[in-house]
Symmetry: C2
Subunit: 359 residues, 2 copies
DNA sequence: TTGTAAGCGTTATCAT
DNA sequence: ATGATAACGCTTACAA
């Protein structure tokens, strides 16, 4: 690998001069600058980041600590981070905790169990060590599901921001707005004339579930719709939970005309449960998702859902991290980005539901 | 940040000794080793990789150059890479070309257009520069679709292996076995008694399409099944292509009893086309996918498909890269990993198809 | 067994 | 405007 010395010799100048033209730190004569640049080109010189970092104590490297890179959300978040990083000439170090391969289910409590295991803790330690050893200027922690992850990392003195996750301490977090997202969905259902709107909730101990429940309730009230406890089903975000709970809902003496599912996965389950019952969606019953998985465009019929602003979250987290690194005060400790609404085919205007005839 | 000097002072030894106990390069007295380790613990010392790398000329860093991190395949591949890397104490630098956000379609020719744009080439240059500046020991290039990407990168003197992509030069490539995967699918269809098996092919200029077509044809011959040109449809791997082509197939005077789709996305389209025609899957017609997208478990009915060995490919690519870095001769230049078969609900035993009555 | 010192490729401070 | 040189934190001879 060619070094600054090679370039200096080739251009017939000192290494200090080469450094000056490359970093524009000092005035150099235009013609020597040209000679240096020619030498750089000729020798294909790329400055050694390690030497530079050693000297300047700034690596222009940030670390990503992802709980699971193959989670549906991670790709888009990293995409957002990367774009902002590239625009600001930062490189990224990636570490991966691979939680999903280790847990059988997505349930909140299962994660807690996982986090207790020695294997997981060793993995966290190793990843963090890797990042700290590289002297990254900052770290972004990406969760697989918004939840309190404040107990996972030990304390260290590098700036960190949490995305798609949060802590109960005063760390910087960027997430989406559960409350607003839920309102988006239920508002739409109400506008379509639905009065009997059931809820497929995520796990009961999740803050996300609570916030969305608030959005559901508030919108119900706003439209003077009755809150029926029997319309609330709790699951663990997964397909099977949606299927099972939807079946229960359909067996009610007065079944709902619309279902708001807190995850697309549960919505798929609900959709298939309805289809298995020969119900037509959305003619007989409407289904509304939440997450905006790529696949939701391909269900039959295509799922109307709430889109998470994943890429924007990634971008915002990187932006926030850079602010912290540069000692600029970011706007807020906890940043919430709005969800958007994706209208497709599973929600229709409420008509007197055909299937109530069965009861 | 605490340095080796701080540790040395705390332990009352020289920096050389600290280095020796940390790297086990030289014999040190057991009790001094203990003192050093205590100091390391107390000061929370993490060796500076940059200083280390500067000296040793080895960074124990590899670079990932991903065409698009949010492509369905990238997460699992990176997962595989990461696991192997972690086991061998390598860190990873991630660069992202974000091709999918820049092209409107997945068609092969569109990629070629993209690759010509100045914006893309600048991006490639920047990413490669980042990796080379970090003096990574090697690079893994991850494509978004297996195709020849040999023209994208300029030449440089760091070992590289291509995964989910290949080059026409003598680079190391690791991919899955298209031929074997296609045989898996068609063999199964034939075993289920299907004699009229249509093919939803990917783009005609793709090597993957060709190889799978070979697998299709060979299996047909093996089972003495006629090859009918009117059963071959070409698309661009996407949902809409599957839908459109399936409609054409169903309109044939003698429609197929089974469809082998070269991508899960096209299989979703075919499935929905059948459903829209009130056809029952798999009673009236069977559909077989290829890719093994996570979502295929949630279609209605769940899609029988061929599973790509994504994580294994990631793992193998990292393994191969390490061999090259350590100047050990890897087994082969072009590594093909076998696909596996995921039997779900969209393929059934062939019965005299009901819908032929329509014709 | 342990300490000393040179050198890795930069940047930055001085001289010139 | 340019050059010489120290320093960044580490490894690695070599000396003690």
């Amino acid at each position: 690998m060619t070094t600054i010395h090679d370039v200096a010799k080739q251009a017939g100048v000192s290494i200090g001069t080469v450094s000056n033209v490359l970093n524009k730190t000092n005035k150099v004569a235009p013609d020597t600058a040209v000679r240096v640049m020619e030498a750089v080109q000729a020798l294909n010189y790329v400055p050694n980041t390690m030497a530079k970092g050693l000297k300047t104590k700034k690596t222009r490297n940030i670390g990503i600590l992802a709980e699971d890179i193959s989670a549906f959300s991670s790709g888009d978040i990293i995409n957002g981070i990367w774009k902002y990083a590239e625009e600001h000439d930062y490189a990224v170090n990636l570490c991966n905790l691979i939680v999903n391969n280790r847990v059988s289910s997505v349930s909140g409590s299962i994660y807690q169990e996982l986090e207790q295991t020695a294997s997981f803790q060793k993995s966290v330690e190793k990843s963090l060590g890797l990042l700290l050893a590289s002297r990254v200027d900052g770290i972004i922690y990406i969760g697989v599901h918004p939840r309190d992850v404040g107990h996972i990392l030990p304390s260290f003195d590098v700036p960190i921001v949490y995305v798609y996750s949060y802590t109960s301490k005063d760390d910087y977090c960027v997430n989406y707005d559960d409350f607003q997202g839920a309102k988006l969905a239920v508002e739409y259902l109400a506008e379509m004339g639905h009065k009997r709107i059931a809820l497929l909730s995520g796990s009961i101990d999740s803050v996300a579930s609570h916030k969305r429940l608030m959005g559901y309730q508030e919108t119900l009230m706003k439209h003077h719709l009755a809150f029926r406890p029997e319309y609330i089903c709790t699951g663990n975000w997964l397909y099977e939970d949606g299927y099972r709970n939807c079946v229960r809902l359909l067996d009610l003496s007065e079944p709902p005309t619309a279902i708001f599912s807190m995850s697309d996965l549960m919505a798929y389950g609900a959709l298939n449960a309805c289809l298995d019952r020969q119900l037509r969606v959305p003619e007989d019953i409407s289904i509304h998702g939440f997450d905006g998985l790529e696949h939701s465009a391909y269900t039959h019929p295509a799922l109307t859902t709430v889109q998470l602003p994943l890429q924007e979250m990634g971008r915002k987290s990187m932006e926030t991290l850079l602010h912290v690194i540069n000692h600029e005060q970011p706007d807020s400790r906890s940043i919430l980005l709005p969800c958007s609404h994706v209208v497709r085919k599973t929600v229709g205007k409420c008509s007197s539901p055909i299937y109530t005839a069965h009861h």
